[in-house]
């Protein structure tokens, strides 16, 4: 337990000390959202219709960009060997790292999404649901992303292979996350979507650390 907390705090401390990284992810998030109104035209009705989707897709891409930070450094400086040999099972080490990654990446994305939602003209009720959906869905993004990041350690063109692997797997959270907001726009209850999103995150929590640890062990062999 102490080891788990120790790893979580270390990764968080590193992410905060190299604060530039988290800032870059947020910066990309904002830029990506800003591109869409410039691309599709500023008509409020159109933007409001697709706003939730825009914010969610931008969040996905921003999360994707931050994924290679998860294991790369440890892999290249020998820390991964030591994590594999420590008293903490590798599955829990993955969980601790994903938790730190979420706090440093997913949580900030969810927290600044309200201001971005204003840029695409969503109503207050929808803004709340959007932020909530990101809050519930971003843990799944960190966890699923960890599997892909672990699988591609040491691969040629790691960035692009990682993207090809992870984006199809990100489609379910995207569908339900953006769907929650659209349901509320259409006047229906968003709760069902949010609950399914929560289920996805919980399923990822149960399944992904195990898959990532298996992939990490292969990377070390």
């Amino acid at each position: 337990m102490a080891a788990f907390i120790g790893l979580f705090r270390r990764d968080l401390r590193l992410a905060l000390r190299q604060g530039g990284d988290a800032g870059l992810v947020l910066g990309f998030f904002v830029l990506a959202v800003v591109l869409f109104p410039l691309g599709v035209g500023p008509e409020p009705a159109v933007l409001q219709r697709i706003g939730a989707g825009i914010v969610w897709v931008a969040a996905l891409l921003a999360a994707l960009l931050s994924l290679d930070r998860l294991f790369e450094a440890d892999y290249h400086d020998g820390g991964l060997d030591l994590l594999a040999l420590s008293s903490l099972p590798l599955e829990f080490a993955v969980l601790a790292k994903c938790a730190a990654h979420w706090v440093a990446t997913g949580l900030p994305l969810a927290l600044i999404s309200p201001s971005l939602a204003l840029l695409v003209g969503l109503d207050p009720a929808e803004i709340v649901i959007l932020a909530l959906s990101l809050l519930i869905g971003t843990p799944a993004l960190s966890l699923i992303g960890s599997v892909a990041a672990a699988l591609t350690l040491g691969a040629r063109r790691q960035g692009i292979v990682l993207s090809i692997l992870v984006l199809p797997l990100y489609i379910p959270p995207l569908v339900f996350g953006a769907g929650a907001v659209e349901a509320s726009v259409a006047g229906m209850d968003a709760r069902a979507y949010l609950l399914i999103l929560a289920a996805l995150s919980l399923a990822a929590l149960a399944f992904c650390p195990w898959a990532s640890a298996a992939a990490l062990r292969q990377a070390l062999e």
Partner: protein, 257 residues
């Protein structure tokens, strides 16, 4: 029997004998199936002759799903039992499965245009099959992304197993969601609800596609095995022969025993 097949030399012998049967069998059966589907089967009372796309679309879809299942099972065998040919089988099958998925998507699109008025709709069935296609592509990208092929094979095995969760989603998507795509007509609990005159050519085409898959699989597995043999020969030819012969040098602590 799986262990008996594990010997690559034996596999090569058996596959050499089986391959012509699969290959020519596929040609014959698919030809027969096409003739039956195009000429003998009756046109649909609603769709007319366009229904004949079904005879390619549906068997391709079945193959797409089942080949992925094969890739996943072979990956599991490779990871758990480290069967030497399992990883090769998975790697060989994946592009063929991707091909079937592409045929399924393309023929489905061609069928959708006259039937639904759209080349593509974003309903659950089509979206999940599209995800399947991307999973195949991702698998192929991953196994080829490493300089060390065995590392690529192992990583791909994990990925294949992670993606298996998509298969039940595809199968049951037409039941779980209101989709434009029609629900299951053949693989149902209550038995097929399609008429025999259409079921027979459908099954013949399915059998033909299966034989085609087997032929292509055996061909690709042989090719991969030969590539590996060539690489092993080359790697070991470069080992300097000036190395000392293997001495059973046992280092013990002086004074022990």
């Amino acid at each position: 029997m799986i262990n008996w097949l594990a010997n690559p030399a034996r596999f090569t012998r058996i596959s050499t004998r089986t391959l012509p049967w699969c290959g020519w069998g596929a040609v014959v059966v698919i030809a027969a199936g096409l003739y039956w589907s195009l000429m003998l089967a009756p046109p649909d009372y609603q769709q007319g002759d366009t229904v004949r796309i079904m005879f390619i679309h549906v068997p391709a879809a079945w193959m797409a799903l089942n080949v992925y299942l094969l890739v996943a099972v072979a990956s599991a065998v490779a990871l758990v039992w480290r069967h030497p040919l399992a990883e090769i089988a998975a790697r060989a099958a994946a592009p063929i499965g991707a091909g079937f998925t592409l045929i399924c998507l393309a023929t489905g699109s061609l069928w959708g245009r006259p039937m639904w008025g759209a080349w593509w709709v974003w309903d659950a069935r089509l979206t999940s099959v599209l995800i399947l296609f991307f999973l195949y592509l991702g698998y192929m990208a991953l196994v080829n992304a490493f300089d060390d092929p065995s590392r690529g094979g192992k990583a791909g095995s994990v990925l294949a197993l992670v993606g298996v969760v998509n298969l039940p989603i595809i199968k049951f998507s037409v039941d779980w969601w209101n989709t434009l795509h029609q629900p299951a007509s053949v693989m149902r609990l209550g038995g097929p609800k399609i008429d025999t005159s259409m079921l027979v050519p459908l099954l013949i085409m399915a059998a033909g596609f299966l034989l085609l898959f087997l032929a292509l699989l055996l061909l690709r597995m042989r090719t991969i095995l030969n590539e590996r043999k060539a690489m092993a020969l080359r790697l070991n030819a470069e080992t300097p022969s000036s190395r000392a012969p293997r001495a059973a040098m046992v280092a013990t602590h002086p004074g022990a025993e």
